[in-house]
Symmetry: C2
Subunit: 371 residues, 2 copies
Amino acid sequence: MRGFQRAPRIHKPLSGKSLTNARADIRIAVDAMGGDFAPASVVQGSLEAVRHRPEGLHVILVGPEDLIRGELEKLTGGGKFSWNDGLISLLHAPDIIDMHDSPTAALKAKKKSSIAVGLRQVHEGNAAAFVSAGNTGAVLSASTLILGRLPNVSRPTIGALIPTAKNPCLLVDAGANVDCKPRHLYEFGVMGSIYAGTMLGIPNPSIGLLNIGEEDSKGNTAAQEAYRLFSGGQLRFVGNIEGRDVLSGNCDVIVCDGFVGNILMKFGESVPGFLKSRFTQLAKKSVAHLLVALLARNSLRSVMKDLDYQEHGGVPVLGVQGVSIIGHGRSTPKAIMNMIFRAEDMAIRKVHQQIEESLSRVHPSQDQEPR
Amino acid sequence: MRGFQRAPRIHKPLSGKSLTNARADIRIAVDAMGGDFAPASVVQGSLEAVRHRPEGLHVILVGPEDLIRGELEKLTGGGKFSWNDGLISLLHAPDIIDMHDSPTAALKAKKKSSIAVGLRQVHEGNAAAFVSAGNTGAVLSASTLILGRLPNVSRPTIGALIPTAKNPCLLVDAGANVDCKPRHLYEFGVMGSIYAGTMLGIPNPSIGLLNIGEEDSKGNTAAQEAYRLFSGGQLRFVGNIEGRDVLSGNCDVIVCDGFVGNILMKFGESVPGFLKSRFTQLAKKSVAHLLVALLARNSLRSVMKDLDYQEHGGVPVLGVQGVSIIGHGRSTPKAIMNMIFRAEDMAIRKVHQQIEESLSRVHPSQDQEPR
């Protein structure tokens, strides 16, 4: 068995090649220590990813080398499956940032964390993207610090796909920025629009501003000013949308500040569990209800799955100079695999470069800015 | 049939009497023109209310007199049921504020609206409470303008009962104040605590601050400062709660600003409809799913009903000198009836006076106030 395998620099340029050829060149750095079930879940998900893409997707597992190697050998039956055939490599990072660490303090104290080491691979061009199901705040801060902000981006953001009655819709900001100025909200709209256009294949995506009423006079000061910016901007702005419209799927991108976005996302995540407890209570009331509950279990599960945000993989960090995806702490191997595929796609489609170009064109000039 | 019947001044004091005797004296002013199904729904709900309380609950229906009388006669079979036996009276108010009117402009232009005339009944002591399913912003503004703020209340608020896995919990502010300072959030906590203690019968209710994480360093500036105020205050503060905890029922009162509160409430309202559409889509996929969907329909309805905020009646305006309750625009007659009963209860229990007393005791002094 070969030891630590240094990942060579990524080939470039990718843009001139076909998608299939381009994929073969993609190297994704994956935080092996990210998430509640790390490293087992992450290593398994990474193995699944390279197995599904035999044409040459390469995963760099970042974390304590011995730990990851042990996990790889356990999962591949002690050598029967050759994991180190060039599709997976290891990169040693001894420090671990856990879910309870303060992002800023942890990034300062743990210079060799899997998060920092992994992101530096992207920054140095050794990997095309970084994926982590670790401490959201730390990954977000490190993505901004290590990769750097794109020009014209005031605040990098995260966008989360949420299920709706129609197609999934991108909620941005999903929790990165809690005190937002109108200009930040506008930039979230631009970045969300690019992501929805490029990654979800929606031409000229519609943008809604999350607010408490339809009229432009509604909402807090930031929302009112943002409405004005969007109205005068070049995006396909469909106006304010209310809380009740979020699940309707009537717009492709929903813009809000990260305080509202985080609360809304987490509230939505809790709905399946709440309904389950209600059904359980109901089933206890009568045999008839119990029978119905048993019969309906599969149908219910199928519907609930749509509401389960974990199924939708990670959230992209938008506005930084590179690709970085943050996963849910409870990410399953399947979620990790999907995050790797999404990261690969984002790298191939050069989402960050498109955001840079778009913001240089449509960004409201300084003198138009209200605050 | 007698004509317009002027409501005499309400008897007082009520406090020394038993609850049963006290009820007989209660007069509730009801906005006959409030809501999407007004006046029919309001008149019907009012009739139901007085029928359920033959001991003498009195409803003053406020609005265009002819319209209300016509509705009353239609509903009571053209005179067979004597509606004007002293339990219902009419108070003429020719102006109508509809759902699309701007609150401030409408209150200025329509001095004789059912909202303004009804609230003046409370202010002048002719009614113990006001109930409306009309324009929320207008009822809220008019309640503050006509009834006046209580001493030590910076911003009157509205609190909404939301279903949880345990007991219903009060979300305050549910949409009245969009830009909130820490002090406002603290006051919402005090008012919510009184309401939960008095109206929901919860001794020493627990208060949670809606935020994006458990730690005191989390959240936007207002939430961080409010955490500090609550920690140093006299309420039973249980710390920050996240979006995913809202439905858990682990605290009795959830404090947030009205921007977040409104969006969260409306999002929650939309969940049953969203699930219904998902089940319908699923039922179309196979006969098995269709059969299960048909079988499970009643169980589902029963669970969904818990999520249907319309069932829970109106939201109280807290922090004004009197009792005022705002209902959902789609309030059914049953919802109107329940709002009248809740208004009656709030008046008997003197919730507004208790808030006044409580805020005079626990309000943080000016020099402690952070901003």
